[in-house]
């Protein structure tokens, strides 16, 4: 996983709530067997509309998405995170994220930042007035700041933060617990099911 320490970039203001993962990446894109090449599928249906915020030239090259509440609801598809990253986003800010999407994002180094809706509104207003305004998402200081905006602190689980700051691979960390896993396995009740076919 790529490390995340601090990132400064321009912002796309997405004034929508309940942005589900079917909108982020439609199902027909899910047939791909790679983790890359999803950028053209990002918000595919909405991008057909010229007025959609991602199509507005003043937001080209922005790397932080700021969206309404309940971002990432629905399907567990990690492709939604890959699509955002492939497109060039490094962070998404919202007042509420769906659990699975948030878990997926943090495992891929896409920082999802929870800010109060009131702070989201202030960032929207800032970048709609001046699309060149840069916003900094600082994981070390755990704050979002920008010129003309009071810095806003955010919470993140300390263990998750440590993994992101160091770009650590979850699987290698877990494999260090091999003896505990083996011990647990040895003590599982005999009645627990297996997928082994009879005969």
């Amino acid at each position: 996983m790529e490390k995340f320490t601090t990132h400064t970039g321009r912002v796309v203001p997405l004034r929508r709530s309940n942005v589900d993962t079917d909108q982020i990446i439609p199902a027909h894109w899910l047939k791909k067997v790679t983790r890359s090449g999803f950028e053209d599928g990002l918000f595919e249906a909405w991008r057909k509309d010229d007025s959609f915020v991602l199509n507005q030239p003043q937001y080209a090259g922005a790397s932080i998405l700021v969206a309404g509440p309940e971002f990432g609801t629905g399907s567990s598809r990690e492709h939604a995170v890959w699509a955002l990253e492939n497109y060039g986003f490094r962070a998404v800010i919202s007042s509420r994220f769906a659990d699975i999407f948030r878990g997926n994002s943090l495992k891929n180094g896409l920082l999802t930042v929870i800010l109060p809706q009131e702070a989201v509104e202030r960032i929207w207003a800032l970048v709609e007035a001046d699309p060149t305004a840069e916003v900094t998402v600082d994981l070390e200081a755990r704050e979002v700041r920008a010129e003309g905006l009071d810095s806003v602190p955010f919470e993140l689980d300390e263990n998750v933060r440590w993994r992101l700051l160091n770009g650590l691979d979850d699987i290698s960390i877990t494999l260090q617990q091999e003896s505990e896993i083996s011990e647990f396995e040895a003590n599982r009740p005999a009645f627990k099911p297996t997928t082994v076919q009879a005969g």
Binding site: K31, V33, R77, I171, I181, F191, T195
Partner: protein
Amino acid sequence: MGRTLAEKVWDDHVVRHAEGEPDLLFIDLHLLHEVTSPQAFDGLRLAGRKVRRTDLTIATEDHNTPTLDIDKPIADPVSRLQLETLRANCAEFGVRLHSLGDAEQGVVHVVGPQLGLTQPGTTVVCGDSHTSTHGAFGALAFGIGTSQVEHVLATQTLPLAPFRTMAITVEGELPDGVTAKDLILAIIAKIGTGGGQGYVLEYRGSAIRGLSMEARMTICNMSIEAGARAGMIAPDETTFAYLEGRDHAPKGEDWDAAVAYWKTLATDEDAVYDAEVFIDASTLSPFVTWGTNPGQGAPLGADVPDPASFEDPQERASAENALRYMGLTAGTPLREVSVDAVFVGSCTNGRIEDLRAAAAVVEGRKVADGVRMLVVPGSVRVALQAVAEGLDKVFTAAGAEWRHAGCSMCLGMNPDQLAPGERCASTSNRNFEGRQGKGGRTHLVSPQVAAATAVLGHLASPADLSDARETAEV
């Protein structure tokens, strides 16, 4: 202090607990399908890792599979490649797979329970958000992303953040014609698409205890549509009766030991939930969605709501967008909304009881002119059972299409899709924009409402059909 069902199952699977770290949980059952696994197997290969417990892993093909001409090569080369990738990965890593054409193939969340693999007190994961279905057995079951799929393949464990518990207590009797689907749609409308966020929901109360296993699966299936981590129902005699004798259910002494354990799982009397919701079952009626998220629903007898009636500005904007996308006008009675298509199937409502319920409504009647009705059993076993009962004939005689098992029009990854602007009454779980095909419009309904809607051509319940059968029989 006592513990809840969810806390007991969690505690029994903690491999490692350390201050400042997420608990590491053991996973009893890992279900795989073609869409969310290829990148996980790639990750294993790159790191030179194996599947740790192939004996706790099983795969099926469902999301991409066609529901017609399954004996022919799959027409879409991209879908074909994805299925071939799953086959190659399962062969290479030694994972049991039920491919298209196999008697055990079907939607992953239908296959697990019918094989008896889903059992009380187990942890079940799958790279699919509707894994919450398995919570109907008192399993802690949840959807995971592809990085986590790889993690489980490699370690049979997952580091997991703690959860909160929410009791959803449904007391009383569901009125005639009101189903588990109506109940869960009403619950989601009440608590919202984010209402369950961070929580494991436990459905309880007399109305829940009175439900069959299949109905309980419908309820738990849609827990994710309320944003929940998982949904669970305490195992009871209904659960044990469903499991006994199934292929992978414990046998002999193991059965007795298992049942004794399963009986300890129910939430203790003195346990405390972090949140509680109460619902009076007797107040419910058939429920349908009018918008583009599963929380945007209303009783069938209601009108399309006016966005201005929503106080919250985000909800109001969301309702405005939804009506625009759905092509609906505020104030229109939902019963006057006509449809082009009806879909019966999916991991929500693709089991045998669902097909029986829909068949009972269309029997002796005809699907309305201009309406296409697709019936897609959740698995091959469900299909075979339906054929044995003659349900396929009932559907085809009514003018519906009887198809092969799979996810089909629930998410339109195979050729079963709506055309732009087409409107569908669907027994599936998501009414998101474009979910059933680009530009398609989805109303989530129960199998009974789906079938009545197919006959009348507009959203309707079986109660609206009082004399359509006589007319059809003339």
